[in-house]
Amino acid sequence: MRKIKLIRSPIEYARNKYLKTITYSFLVILYLPIINLIFFSFNDSKRNIVWRGFTTKYYEKMFDNQILFDAFSNSLTIAFISTVISTILGLSTAICLWKFNFYLKKYYDLALIFPIVIPEICLGVSMLVFFNFISWPNFQIWPLSLSSIIIAHVSFIFPFVAIIIRSRLSILNNEILESGTDLGATNFQIIKFIIIPFLKPAIIASFLFAFTLSLDDFVVTFFTSGPNSVTLPVKIYSMVRFGITPEINAVSTLLLLIIIISTYFVIKFLTKKNRAFIK
């Protein structure tokens, strides 16, 4: 029997040897620091620079650490609120700039890039001076004390969202929109039923991005934070002098674990529902 040679379609890029090696080596390189991080969360050393032995005591210490917990909850709250606001603002701005041609459009386009151009420290200082200038009150009650941080975060995050969504919009087929108009939809309906579902992956992606941008931000947060609004990156950055203890590695590992587990369940839940309907 002659061996039948499988002819691969050239379009199946996922079978391409070169692309496969590049992708998987990239993933390996990407995860080396993460694996190191997880290992060193079990390190028996306060400075956590050299491996000195195995211990789980920093996991126990982490649960006792009230300051760490406060910083963590502050970071999550700020990230959540600023992400929601940034996504809404970025989405509306992206659709508006893509569809409409108005008088000062190119200047608005340019101005939208400025929050990305400006060095973070300059932005932080300008927000500090600005809030003093307009005498933004120093709220002492908890969620409002984070207001200045949230405002500053939204200012530099929503342009990122706008740019990501616009890149997705660049591939939107206009014929679909035309057919919508032909079938009698108003512009508002076109947005709601055609554009937004089309943008769903972009919205999810920019939501996740905005979340991490806010969660990780140190410079702008530092300048706009008041008392009792310590965030996790500010706390970690201030630990550099005396050593970043393995507690922080432990927190990061735990967070990663939570995310992996919850995404697993979300995907499983969603695909299960889909499968039930295909049957």
Partner: protein, 310 residues
């Protein structure tokens, strides 16, 4: 055809106003304050005199700031290029994978973003430093090979010298580029993926049917369509890289000063906010000039095109 809707309706206002209002009040206004500060002068310790003089800009035109700016542009460009060269193959692979693999791969790429930047960079240091993981493993291999050769009585050939010189992977520009690559690669991957996911496969099939090879297809079909996404990716990577200072601080060596570091120092230890503002604004002016050039170029290009059609 994209910009076809009329501006005279409520929808436009509804979409435009939130973003515009926020940008104006919570960004442009603070920016104006800093802008006027860049024309000001520092008096005493914390006083700023808004004297509307070009003093700071004249000082910024000293050679040293331009050298550093140039160096920062080079490092940012290399980082952006590296991100691009890695992002495109990876995205091609992912977007043509099965649905299940797609989600897994995408999540795997986004997951490291959820660890704190500083911790990730410290882990990177632990890998790259002189006694870090890479050098230790290489040293282990070196010594094992030496033992092997000794065992096989090939020591006389002196293939591997006795002492292992570790690779110099950190506290230099290489480490800075690698560190920036780590942080910004998702910013290049996501816009390109969002476009490639909806890419019309029929175009590719048509191209292959007509006899084109991979490279031809890529450059003539895929690349033009994803070029807006590539531009977005470049904006999201190159520009923040210019102003970065944390990565050069942590991973850079004695001569790895970037313009971001100089600006940071003006706002902190040098305590010269007017000068720091003027340096920051130099970056903004640079961006304006690049956009202006691009705008003029596209205008000229379309004018030429129309003339050629006629």
């Amino acid at each position: 055809m994209a910009n076809s809707w009329s501006v005279k309706n409520k929808l436009f206002i509804f979409l435009l106003v939130p973003g515009l209002a926020w940008l104006l009040f919570f960004f442009i206004l603070p920016l104006i304050i800093i802008f006027s500060m860049s024309f000001g002068q520092k008096i005493d310790i914390i006083g700023v005199e808004y004297s509307w003089s070009l003093h700071n800009y004249i000082r910024a035109f000293d050679g040293i700031y331009f050298i550093t700016l140039f160096k920062s542009v080079i490092i940012s460009s290399i980082t952006t290029l590296l991100c691009l060269l890695v992002a495109v193959p990876v995205v091609l692979y992912i977007s043509f994978s099965s649905t299940r693999m797609k989600s897994i791969l995408l999540i795997s790429i986004m997951l490291p973003l959820w660890t704190n930047l500083l911790i990730r960079t410290y882990s990177l240091i632990a890998i790259l430093r002189t006694k870090g993981h890479i050098n230790s493993s290489l040293e282990f291999l070196w010594d094992s090979s030496n033992h092997l050769f000794n065992f096989l009585n090939l020591a006389n050939y002196n293939i591997f010298s006795n002492s292992f010189t570790p690779l110099n992977l950190i506290y230099n520009n290489f480490a800075i580029i690698l560190g920036l690559f780590y942080i910004y690669i998702p910013f290049m991957i996501i816009p390109i993926y969002l476009v490639l996911e909806r890419f019309d496969r029929n175009l590719l099939e048509a191209s292959y049917d007509l006899g084109a090879n991979h490279i031809h297809t890529f450059f003539k079909i895929i690349l033009p369509i994803i070029s807006p996404a590539i531009i977005s990716g470049i904006i999201l990577v190159f520009i923040p890289c210019l102003g970065t200072f944390i990565i050069p601080d942590l991973l850079g060596g004695a001569d790895s000063q970037m313009i971001g570091n100089i600006i940071e120092r003006q706002f902190k230890s040098a305590n010269d906010w007017p000068f720091g503002s003027s340096l920051s604004f130099l970056l903004i002016y640079m961006t304006i000039i690049i956009f202006a050039v691009r705008y003029i170029y596209t205008k000229l290009y379309s004018k030429l095109h129309i003339r050629m059609d006629i």
